[in-house]
């Protein structure tokens, strides 16, 4: 990317709220049901039906507002956004327009240089999701499934404060972390619970005026966000450097071709004819309600990260990883509480072997096969020299495979470390005696042969000898033999 251009990005993140029922009806929001079995008459926009607002949706929006240091509006208004589309049953989407429920928020990301950067959140408003269209297997038709219609969405709109695709991703990850911490969304991107539109423009560095922007619709993974934005930046710069003009339009990211393309079908000038929805009254939120919600707020990721560094002495970067999800952080804290080791050791296990095992199987921490207390048990066996760090890996794998606690695995597999020094000495003596040549070479100054001897001793003991102890005894014995 040319240094002559500055990139300006704003994101509109749509996050489905994890309610049991829909925003304006009592139909279930569960994912994956047979088509149209969770679209009640209200979701279908049947003649005569009316919307009634779900209290939990208001509570969740309020939680989000407080978490990003925003203003929760004492009065917000639902409006109708009018347009025709088959997945939009009423011919209008109930959304918030002039008076959203949340305004003027902020959060902090780490920018390219490792500095904290404030990103403004213009607003977050409530709206209903649309249904889905299916285009395959129905001949000349598209099939409409309205199960998703009416699922509550919180649309979070950032200020155009983001300056690169990486920052956009960092911001999106941060929002993702926050909504999951708050328990207001499952953040499941495969199921479309968390997706975003990116507004991208470029301008000559130093210019005040924003360039013409394009909007990339419906990005549903962090990777796609980064790629789509980068593609779009390059495309816009190419257009401008060739003396052309960027057209304000909606574009779609094609992940197969890794490119964005114009959505011609949406080119017809949109005129949404917003007006206040006469079926719904203004939403009034009292101070008392907000105070009640505030009391239920969990510790937020930034605070948790700071605490992990300050109270546990965990490294900054590790603390950031551990606090990406509330469940992971909880796991770490639980394991630390039971472990007789430094928290950093626990952190290493959680970030290392445990996360590795989870990733390998594509599991979330919630589905972890080893309870936190058991991981602590394993760490404790290393700490008290029952097993070596190397044996610990084997024990971990056995635990992961469901063979029980560290103690049970150690017992069943006979992995208890040999710490009896007379036993080790006897083995060392045997190994030295069996390899007189190497012993002589060692004594002659080829000290790296110590590794060979350690290996031999470990082989003899099936890896159960304490490596530190073996090392110590070996050096002493080899020295002795030389005298």
């Amino acid at each position: 990317m040319s240094a002559a251009w500055e990139v300006v990005i704003g994101l509109e993140i749509h996050t489905q709220l994890a309610t049991k029922s829909k925003i304006f009806s009592g139909a279930s929001t569960a994912y994956g049901a047979e088509p149209n079995t969770q679209a009640c008459l209200i979701d279908l926009g049947y003649p005569g039906v009316l919307p009634v607002l779900n209290e939990e949706v208001v509570r969740m929006a309020c939680k989000f507002g407080l978490a990003v240091n925003a203003t929760v509006a004492p009065r917000s208004v639902f409006a109708r956004k009018n347009y025709f589309y088959p997945d939009l049953p009423k011919g209008y989407q109930i959304s918030q327009y002039e008076l959203p429920i949340v305004e003027h928020g902020e959060l902090f990301i780490t920018d390219g240089e490792g500095n904290e950067k404030r990103i403004g959140i213009t607003r977050a408003h409530l709206e209903e999701d649309a249904g889905k269209s299916v285009h395959e297997g129905l001949d000349r038709y598209s099939g409409i499934d309205l199960n998703r219609a009416g699922t509550p969405l919180l649309e979070i709109v950032s200020e155009p404060d983001l300056r690169s695709a990486k920052e956009a991703v960092a911001y999106m990850r941060k929002i993702h972390t926050i909504v999951r911490y708050l328990g207001i969304s499952d953040g499941n991107m495969q199921e479309g619970s968390f997706r975003c539109d990116a507004n991208v423009s470029v301008r000559p560095r130093g210019d005040e005026v924003l360039g013409t922007r394009t909007e990339i619709k419906n990005l549903n993974s962090f990777r796609f966000v980064e790629r789509a934005i980068n593609f779009e930046i390059e495309r816009q710069i190419d257009v401008l450097e060739d003396g052309g003009e960027v057209v304000q339009e909606t574009r779609l990211y094609d992940s197969g071709r890794d490119e964005t393309r114009s959505m011609r079908s949406k080119e017809e000038a949109n005129d949404y004819r917003y007006f206040p929805d006469p079926d719904l009254l203004p939403v009034e939120i009292s101070e008392a309600f907000i105070d009640g919600v505030r009391e239920t707020l969990p510790e937020l990721p930034d605070d948790k990260r700071r605490r992990f560094v300050d109270d546990y002495g965990v490294k900054q970067d590790d603390a950031a990883i551990l606090t990406v999800s509330r469940a992971l952080a909880d796991y770490f804290e639980e394991a630390s509480a039971s472990a007789d080791a430094q928290a950093q050791v626990v952190a290493n296990w959680v970030i290392g072997d445990l996360s590795g095992a989870l990733n390998k199987e594509g599991l979330e921490i919630e589905a972890c096969r080893i309870p936190a207390e058991d991981l602590a048990g394993l760490i404790n066996r290393i700490q008290d020299n029952t097993i070596s760090g190397k044996i610990a890996k084997e024990v971990f794998e056995a635990m992961w495979a469901g063979e029980g606690t560290a103690d049970a695995v150690i017992e069943a597999r006979g992995l208890k470390q040999i710490t009896d020094s007379s036993a080790i000495e006897a083995i060392v003596d045997k190994v030295v005696a069996d390899n007189p040549g190497q012993a002589a070479e060692y004594r002659a100054g080829k000290e790296k042969l110590i590794g060979f001897f350690v290996g031999q001793v470990m082989k003899e003991t099936g890896g159960k000898a304490n490596p530190g102890q073996v090392n110590e005894v070996l050096r002493a014995k080899l020295k002795e033999g030389g005298q």
Binding site: E34, P35, L41, L138
Partner: protein, 95 residues
């Protein structure tokens, strides 16, 4: 005439209403009369008047988050003009 044919066609497109060629002249004429009639509103002095969206001064009531609507697909789809495997059908939408 306060409206012309093109304006009416544009509005009709926004409203997804087909206005047949033989209806267009009359539609333009009647709509223009309606628009001229409601133009009287411009005479009213509404400085600092709060727009009234609702006849009653009340706040939105909230319902508890509970699943209360059963699956009524079969009943609801009896009115549907075109169906396949539980989907409502529309002419193929190309994205």
């Amino acid at each position: 005439m306060s409206l012309d044919k093109d304006q009416v066609q544009h509005i009709a497109m926004l409203a997804r209403l087909r206005v047949a060629d033989d209806e267009i002249a009359e539609t333009v004429d009647k709509l223009s009369r309606i628009v001229d009639f409601v133009d009287q509103l411009s005479q009213a002095d509404t400085t600092a008047v709060v727009p009234m969206a609702h006849p009653l001064d009340a706040a939105q009531r909230l319902r508890p988050d509970a699943v209360t609507e059963p699956d009524e697909r079969d009943e609801a789809q009896k009115n549907a003009p075109a169906l396949s495997d539980g989907f409502y059908l529309v002419p193929k939408v190309i994205e």
